[in-house]
């Protein structure tokens, strides 16, 4: 079996499972946030039972409309605070956490081998730690609150084998964009995407999270990476105990529907052009694209490594007049680290605005929205029509290095060319 099948077999009390089989899995952790939680609470109340199945396994994170930008959002937050209080749940309130997918592993809610569901599509991020993690809707989250179980169809797996060493300013984000560009936005629909190979082995947890985070953008049910010493190093002190990683390795004879190979050694910085995540090209080939906004943040690229990279590009430079640059650390922990390392100073010196840890403009519900005709280059994960505000605005997805370089020049820019031009 491969790692996903091993986890699902264990979770459903079976010796083995096969693709296509429908199983009833025990859930180890369920997460809801401020936009999906209230619907789940409403649905839970309708079921007619008083208490969630296990209050230690339900986590509430306020991150989308944070801090509340409207009375309606404030009401949603209030609902979630009350529910957390009534049910005695762990809640990460405004200022105490950050973006759900960053907070979950940071605060020790993600363990290798666990089955984790979250009422957010990017729950697949936790596959970076060797967990089976997938997004669900609010009603389904309510059902998990009640029963601790979920039905799942065992997905066929695609092995994504990656080799080669990244060139300077080429990042895991460029890799995942290029993978999605090749596979298409429905290329892994209903399937598991398992990332393996020497490049993945040498990649830090932050990069692995970026890959698994965007697995859903090619339709995958989960993205997953075998846990190793990097995983344990990150999780030590955060989780109570780590499982035996040997039991989480894909067998030599594990079955994959297909294997796709990538070599990053000659890869250039990539960009997903509007309005589909698979509309991917090397930045050097997009031509002259002026931008009005540059956004560095989100659950895809708001981690400390991302901010360091952006700061390296922005250091001693200015954000071009006419461009607004937004930097949003993915969590309070990342924020503090960026502060200690002097990164926030670099950003503010450059003329970027640093906002509090939350989703920000990523989903177009809160701050940093776009007007008609404007273009934004963003480190987030979706460039759909209307995703960041006006339906007539355009969003380009790229790495933190590319976004920072573009903020300096005022147009989409390959970061490897910036030094030469300066």
């Amino acid at each position: 079996m491969n790692i996903t099948e091993k986890i699902l077999a264990k979770a459903s009390g079976k010796k083995a499972v096969h693709p296509g089989e429908i199983i009833d899995a025990n859930v180890d952790m369920v997460m809801v946030h401020d936009l999906t939680g209230p619907l789940a609470v409403e649905a839970f109340k309708k079921i007619g039972i008083q208490k969630v199945w296990d209050n230690k396994k339900v986590v509430v994170i306020l991150d989308h409309q944070v801090p509340a930008e409207s009375v309606k959002a404030a009401e949603l937050h209030k609902t979630m605070r009350q529910f957390a209080k009534d049910q005695n749940l762990q809640i990460y309130d405004v200022g105490k956490g950050g973006i759900c997918h960053q907070v979950m592993p940071e605060k020790g809610h993600v363990t290798p081998g666990a089955v984790i569901v979250g009422a957010d599509s990017h729950t697949c991020t936790y596959g970076a730690f060797g967990a089976f993690a997938t997004g669900i809707g609010s009603t389904e989250a309510a059902a998990v609150f009640a029963t601790g179980k979920i039905w799942l169809k065992v997905p066929p797996a695609i092995k994504v084998n990656v080799k080669g060493k990244f060139q300077k300013y080429v990042t895991p984000k460029d890799l995942i964009l290029s993978i999605i560009g090749k596979m298409g936005v429905d290329g892994a629909i209903y399937k598991s995407a398992e990332f393996t190979g020497p490049t993945i082995k040498s990649m830090c947890m932050s990069g692995r999270m970026t890959l698994c985070n965007m697995a859903v953008e090619m339709g995958a049910k989960n993205g997953i990476i075998e846990p190793d010493e990097k995983t344990s190093k990150f999780l030590e002190g955060r989780v109570k105990a780590l499982p035996d990683f040997e039991a989480l390795k894909s067998d030599k004879d594990a079955v994959y529907e297909r294997t796709v190979e990538f070599d990053v050694s000659k890869m250039e910085p990539q960009v997903a052009c509007p309005s589909s995540v698979d509309n991917v090209k090397p930045v050097s080939e997009v031509g002259n694209v002026p931008i009005e906004q540059a956004f560095i943040g989100s659950c895809t690229n708001g981690r400390i490594e991302d901010l360091r990279l952006a700061a390296e590009v922005l250091k001693g430079k200015r954000v071009k007049d006419g461009v607004r640059a937004l930097v949003i650390p993915a969590s309070q922990e990342v924020y503090r680290q960026a502060l200690n390392e002097g990164l926030l100073e670099i950003f503010t010196d450059a003329g970027a605005i640093v906002c509090g840890s939350a989703c920000g403009p990523c989903l177009g519900g809160h701050i940093g929205l776009l007007a008609a005709g404007e273009a934004c280059v963003s480190t987030s994960n979706r460039n759909f029509i209307g995703r960041m505000g006006s339906t007539q605005a355009s969003v380009y997805l790229a790495s933190p290095a590319t976004v920072a370089a573009s903020a300096v020049t005022g147009k989409l820019t390959d970061p490897t060319t910036l030094e030469a031009k300066a």
Binding site: I22, L35, T36, P38, L39, A43, K46, I47, G48, I49, H64, Q65, S70, K72, A73, L76, A119, D120, S121, T123, G135, I136, G137, S138, T139, E140, A142, A143, A146, T147, W151, V185, D186, I189, Y190, G219, K221, S276, L363, G364, G365, L369, R382, F384, I385, G386, R387, G389, T391
Partner: protein
């Protein structure tokens, strides 16, 4: 839901994402009827009006891709969409739709066989779809019995309530 539906079709293309079905800025709305007013407005501002009398959406590949927002299928259901038939679905949308009691059917070849305005007849239990405007017929894989049961109950919560109270 009863096992059969007849309604005119409104057709969309591939990769209709949940941001297009219901933009993020409306996720703070809690009343499904309010959500319905904004269903698919990025593609067609008149959609809620057209859907009012009851329609079937015909989609291409990867319908409902993107965010896990259940408000997307809710907005469709409350705007008057009786059922969504597509070449393929994004998995979270597929589950969400069933869980809120909006029938969804995967049917290869449907988008080239239907134009907006065609009259469709769907029989869920038999897995049959007919375009009565041009006579084209499809037989699809039947949904597993426990999913049909969820739809028959009107959604997962109703289903769960029934099952948990039985115990």
């Amino acid at each position: 839901m009863n096992g059969k539906i007849k309604a005119p079709a409104i057709k969309f293309g591939n990769n209709i994402d949940t941001d297009v079905i219901l933009p993020g800025k409306y996720l703070i709305l809690v009343d499904p009827c309010e959500l319905a007013k904004h269903a698919l407005e990025s593609l067609d501002t008149a959609f809620p009006d057209k859907a009012k009398k009851g329609i079937i959406i015909v989609g291409g590949k990867n319908f409902g891709c993107g965010s896990s927002r259940e408000q997307a299928p809710l907005a469709l259901k409350y705007s008057g969409v009786k059922c969504v038939i597509a070449e393929s679905f994004a998995r979270i949308f597929f589950r969400n739709a069933i869980n809120i009691g909006l029938p969804v059917i995967e049917c290869k070849g449907i988008s080239s066989a239907v134009e907006t305005g065609d009259a469709l007849a769907v029989d869920f239990e038999a897995g049959k779809i007919e375009n009565t405007s041009n006579g084209k017929k499809f037989q699809v894989d039947k949904l597993p019995p426990f999913i049909l049961e969820i739809l028959a109950d009107g959604g997962l919560i109703e289903n769960l309530r029934r099952r948990m109270n039985k115990k």
